[in-house]
């Protein structure tokens, strides 16, 4: 790609005997907001640290604007990083933190002063120049970290789960602000997160990763609407994933019925995975639909109800604004454009059935996964 600012070619990284990345290829265009999304241990932070220069890959090359930078140390790269825990210099105040990089480049104090104040304005921290960094809140510290990195005029800004330590409300505000800053500065942002909502709402391009490999690259809408395999479908949003057979083009059979769909090109009578998003399913009376089932659980989520329905042993998740009581028999209506067909993959059968689903467990798993990554 001619306009790619960063190009990773055939990168392999291992920690001891553990292979974290292998045969990893990625091109990132100048000015893009790219998010590396995946669960803990998928290698996303390793990709970031390779670009930042903190890891030298075992094999493979890193190119920056066409030039090989694989062996270049971090301080010589036109790349700056926002660290998960801010990593501000505790012995310096806000002003000196932001001025750090510019002073190393021997900029004049006049220029330093102008830039520091411009950066403080950019991150909404006017008047904080002479505060000590330990007196700031988490959100303010993260803003200082962003200002400190941007003051260096990087070509690329790397962000390693920058909002991981912030509470939900602040997180949302920072997401909006960060996106605004990216648009204003036009700098390429490479953002790492395990939060799919964050990835969808901020990025131009999302790179979904698992097991050290890229599962799918695409725009947020592509990733959500056209997931490539069961992993992506399950990781991005909620999905019912069923075993199906592509009878022929535009016709797929699952859950005991044949449905018209919009997918083609799989061949005839080919086993496939079928994804149906919970919000796409229409709930009707039991006698007016092909699929009927019994409601086994209902959770109020604010915007909608989350209804778990048992259809011949397979538990579906439905998101509906209409309330249904546990024990009700309901009908499920699925239209052609609600169906997304995917080829079978190593992830087939692992995801998409809500029979063991519970919110609490999901949260527990997320929490423990995060604490593992912290170590």
């Amino acid at each position: 790609m001619s306009d790619s600012i960063i190009s990773l070619q055939d990168i392999a990284v291992s920690y001891g005997s553990e292979q974290v990345l292998k045969g990893f290829n990625l091109d990132i265009r100048d000015g893009e907001f790219v998010t590396l999304l995946g669960p803990s241990g998928c290698g996303k932070t390793t990709v970031l640290r390779t670009i930042g220069g903190f890891i030298t890959p075992d094999t493979g090359e890193v190119f920056f604007g066409g030039k090989k930078i694989t062996a270049l140390p971090p301080h010589k790269r036109a790349v700056n990083t926002i660290f998960q825990r801010y990593a501000l210099f505790p012995h310096l105040n806000v002003y000196d933190n932001i001025a750090f990089g510019m002073r190393l480049k021997k900029k004049s104090e006049k220029e330093v002063k102008e830039t520091v104040h411009a950066m403080l304005a950019l991150v909404n921290l006017k008047g904080y120049a002479h505060r000590g960094v330990s007196q700031l809140s988490g959100g303010q510290q993260q803003r200082v970290a962003i200002a400190r990195a941007l003051a260096n005029e990087p070509k690329i800004l790397l962000l390693d789960e920058p909002f991981g330590a912030l509470d939900l409300k602040l997180r949302k505000d920072m997401q909006v602000e960060l996106k605004k800053i990216q648009k204003q500065t036009g700098i390429t942002f490479i953002f790492v997160t395990h939060d799919q909502e964050e990835a969808l709402s901020m990025s131009d391009t999302v790179v979904v990763m698992d097991g050290g490999e890229i599962q799918q690259i695409g725009s947020p809408t592509d990733i959500y609407n056209e997931p490539k395999n069961a992993f992506v479908a399950d990781f991005i949003g909620e999905s019912n994933i069923l075993d199906g057979v592509m009878v022929k083009d535009l016709e797929v059979r699952f859950a005991g019925h044949t449905y018209p769909c919009l997918d083609k090109g799989f061949g005839e009578n080919v086993p496939v995975d079928v994804v149906i998003r919970p919000e796409d399913i229409e709930v009707t009376a039991a006698d007016s639909a092909h699929l009927t089932g019994e409601v086994t659980a209902v959770t109020f989520k604010g915007v909608h109800y989350e209804i778990i329905v048992d259809v011949q042993g397979f538990k579906w998740m439905i998101q509906s604004t209409d309330y249904r009581a546990v024990g009700d028999r309901i009908g499920l209506v699925i239209g052609p454009d609600d169906i997304h067909v995917m080829a079978k993959s190593e992830y087939s059968g692992l995801f998409g059935d809500y029979s063991t689903f519970s919110d609490e467990m999901d949260d527990d798993i997320n929490a423990s996964a995060e604490s593992v990554e912290d170590d």
């Binding site: 301080h75 505790p90 002003y95 002073r103 000590g132 260096n152």
Partner: protein
């Protein structure tokens, strides 16, 4: 709640009153009285005669402190960079000499440094001339460094291990090479450790008397020896001894005050950057 915490601190309060506050009051009392118990400033004025001893003590103590810092800092830094398991072994090794008696340790240096000691025996056996080492200022400094080095290393080690690796990476990320990382991040962040290390070496080094007695001979009298002489030695004069102690105490307090000026880690002005 309040009475409870008062009660808990009672043993130490009593201890401190009886064994620290009262003796200090006595030192001040003796310093400002003559043998008959009348008020006088003569003792304090007489301390002036020994200004050369004061200068020598402070000079040798300062040299020993600087050497300890220069030797201790890289070691503490090295230990802090090791794997956690090796760190604890290294810290134990640093403290190992402290398990041996202080007198014994200093005494063994005597046998090493003597004109007919082990080092000179070794030198002559390979055909080199003898070196006069014992009873010199250098021998005193050596004794000080040898005895107090662990007190420099430990506080340095403890602040250096607390420096987050991501802060160092942040500095590299912002364009700092290893020299800049050290001068602009690691050093300023370890200032509190430098201050406590310097304090813990300088104060006992300035007031030592055993080391100078054993390794310094008669020509390297230190303040400690001077005070020792006023209480236990030939020149018995507790009033003068107290006055010297008092002056020493004031000098050390001033030194500490100056040292603490360098610790602006939580000050508003980040004055370390040029």
């Amino acid at each position: 709640m309040k009475t409870k915490s008062k009660l808990l601190s009672a043993p130490y309060s009593v201890w401190m009153t009886v064994f620290i506050v009262v003796p200090m009051v006595l030192v001040v009392w003796f310093a400002f009285t003559d043998t008959a118990g009348n008020f006088t400033v003569e003792n304090i004025l007489n301390v002036g005669q020994y200004s050369n001893v004061f200068l020598r003590s402070i000079g040798l103590g300062a040299v020993a402190t600087v050497i300890s810092l220069v030797m201790g800092y890289p070691l503490a830094y090295g230990i802090a960079k090791m794997a956690p398991r090796r760190q604890s072994v290294m810290v134990m090794l640093v403290m190992l000499p402290m398990w041996m008696n202080f007198l014994l340790r200093t005494y063994s240096w005597m046998t090493l440094l003597e004109d007919n000691g082990l080092i000179n025996a070794l030198l002559t056996s390979i055909g080199l001339p003898r070196l006069h080492m014992i009873n010199t200022g250098g021998a005193v400094v050596l004794g000080m460094v040898y005895n107090y080095l662990p007190y420099m290393i430990l506080p340095l080690y403890s602040v250096l291990t607390k420096i987050d690796q991501s802060v160092i990476e942040a500095a590299q990320d912002l364009g700092a090479n290893s020299r800049h990382v050290f001068l602009r991040v690691i050093m300023p962040m370890s200032t509190p450790g430098i201050i406590s290390g310097v304090t813990m070496v300088f104060v006992p080094a300035v007031s030592t008397f055993i080391i100078s007695k054993m390794l310094g001979g008669g020509g390297n009298l230190l303040i400690g020896d001077l005070i020792d002489m006023q209480f236990l030695g030939s020149a018995y004069n507790p009033n003068l001894g107290s006055a010297i102690s008092l002056v020493l105490m004031v000098i050390i307090l001033i030194c500490m005050g100056i040292m603490n000026q360098f610790d602006d880690s939580d000050g508003e002005e980040g004055g370390i950057m040029p």
